[in-house]
Symmetry: C2
Subunit: 343 residues, 2 copies
């Protein structure tokens, strides 16, 4: 294992300490907890957005703390959920009087711990809602949609919900928009090389030298098939067509596109993938409102990528185009202000 | 080789086509040339900044086309310089009447071709200057500083010069600021795994399984020594102390810090590196004005990272804090406007 670490058991602590040292203007650490929070309080009270999960997915989750994105992140060990107690204490600290929404991925450890936090916080009078991302279409059939795992689509959920909260919308409105975004977001990925788990030095999964795992999860969970690696166009077409089967776009419908690198796949290849995905969307006359390509939700040094589409209506469109300012996700206002007005 | 490509000989073309499809609001392709240019003309004429080089370094160079960054990029094959003819034609197209500056890295192919372009453009009455980056301290001794290669420090050069040009400064002023930035910027890197060259499917260099290459160039050029991989803190300290020996900071001097991932090294490790580098700078009472951590200048899927410091005075500080808006480098104004005034 050739990793730039010190002590394998301190990887998360030291990485977090480095992150805080780099971005003191954006984040602060809650005393005694492995929870990071937005440094400056928003000018007006807003719904607090808390997320979290296992480590190893950077820039998710901590990279997205800031204006128009999330307010707090509970940081678990590598690929392991954070304790519910931390989420609960984060809720007490970050509630601005308008309630809190937990936006996280559909993994059993996370669900257990976030729900514990919800119970504890509600017992003290805090209003808490949750919306769980389930965008990975490879992880369960459409009939069991809520059983699906989350992958990179969570980033779109944070972006849209973060913009909604920033407008001053109520907790129920932010929840409703988050549910709509989660439902409108579908992803599918492919993996070629595994991540190396720092604590053990071993790969997270085994795959033959000429094979790819179609539908891989972002902890290396098995997908729907292992097969010989194919051309970028073939793989991209397969993933995109599978997503399009589910989202039932009509001509002139609008979408956001995210092509997410899992860690070690060069941006050069992601753009080759993007070329094909964009051309498929164009052929169906689906309008791309915004396109993100890069490493938004990784799995350490895993190689591979995922494609995510989020079907947009006018409301979601304005929110996804709004300004965001966090260490790892910055976007200038691209056409709507936080009140949903055209600028 | 498990790469998401179609035809190995079309990797650069197809990647570029994908990039343009993703960011039509930022970039346009010059007809018949593999040159990308800023889509919207700046409101006021400004010095045009042109760069370029071999492919395989994304987000460099094409990711940095936009406001406060560069105006045009000539795109070579993987790790090979672009033809001078393209740079010359880009110069004719992008000159806004205030002259053009070429900002590129110290590699013989690039020098030959950019200088040819300069001769051709000047023969037609265009004013052209050039500043060459030479930040990699591992590539030649201090006495032969101008023989050094460029690595990730080029990004800082584009950022500062890009902001300077955006203020409307004259060609000679932008040149002077660029020269100062190039001189004040020093980097050093380390590599652990090679990039895989798409055209051949072979690794760019060979390194034993337990070894790292200290001082590696961003095409995998040999550095100053191969040795057993050490802890993140040891490697980070070595690189940082070598840079600090050259830059002669005094207490309270200000710096920009860039920790650049070469491609496959997880952000988690880069933050562990950042923790140590930041603590060393703190121990010398060197003030970090801004910190960038991520993949700013890669070498396909090479693993490793580099540390870059740029010593700042008040003028450079205002420029590095100015707004930038390109597909892969976005920064809100952090304290100075384009006229160098405190906001």
């Amino acid at each position: 294992m050739k990793k730039f670490i010190n002590n394998p058991s301190l990887v998360v602590e030291e990485s977090l300490a480095g992150y805080i040292a780099c971005y003191p203007q954006y984040v602060r650490k809650l005393e005694g907890l492995r929870v990071l929070a937005r440094k400056e309080k928003p000018k007006k009270p807003k719904v607090a957005i808390i997320t979290g999960g296992g480590s190893g997915h950077k820039p998710a989750f901590i990279g997205y703390i800031g204006k128009g994105m999330v307010d707090g992140v509970a940081v678990g060990e590598v690929f392991a959920a954070p304790p519910g107690d931390w989420v609960y204490k984060a809720t007490k600290e970050l509630d601005m009087g308008m309630g809190t929404i937990y936006l996280y991925g559909n993994f059993s450890g996370d669900i257990m711990n976030f729900r514990l936090a919800k119970i504890l916080a509600e017992a003290e009078g805090h209003k808490v809602e949750e919306v769980i991302a389930y965008d990975d279409i490879a992880s369960a059939p459409k009939e069991s949609i809520k059983k699906r795992r989350a992958i990179a689509g969570e980033v779109i959920l944070w972006k849209i919900a973060g913009a909604a909260a920033e407008t001053g919308m109520s907790l129920s409105e932010v929840k409703e928009i988050s549910e709509q975004t989660a439902f409108n977001t579908r992803s599918m990925g492919v993996g070629t090389y595994p991540p190396i788990i720092p604590a053990t030095g071993h790969p997270g999964f085994i795959l033959e030298e000429d094979k790819m795992e179609i539908g891989v999860g972002h902890h290396g969970e098995p997908g729907i098939k292992k097969e010989k690696i194919k051309s970028a166009d073939e793989v991209s077409s397969y993933l995109t067509e599978r997503i399009l089967e589910e989202l039932a776009f009509k001509h002139e419908d609008e979408t956001a596109l995210l092509i997410n690198g899992l860690g070690a796949t060069p941006l050069q290849e992601l753009y080759i993938v993007a070329r094909k995905v964009c051309s498929i969307l164009d052929s169906y006359k689906i309008k791309r409102v915004i396109t993100y390509v890069g490493e938004y939700f990784t799995s350490l040094e895993m190689a591979g990528f995922s494609v995510t589409l989020t079907k947009l209506d006018d409301r979601l469109k304005k929110l996804i185009l709004a300004e965001a300012d966090s260490p790892c996700f910055k976007q200038f206002n691209l056409g709507g202000d936080y009140n949903g007005n055209k600028s």
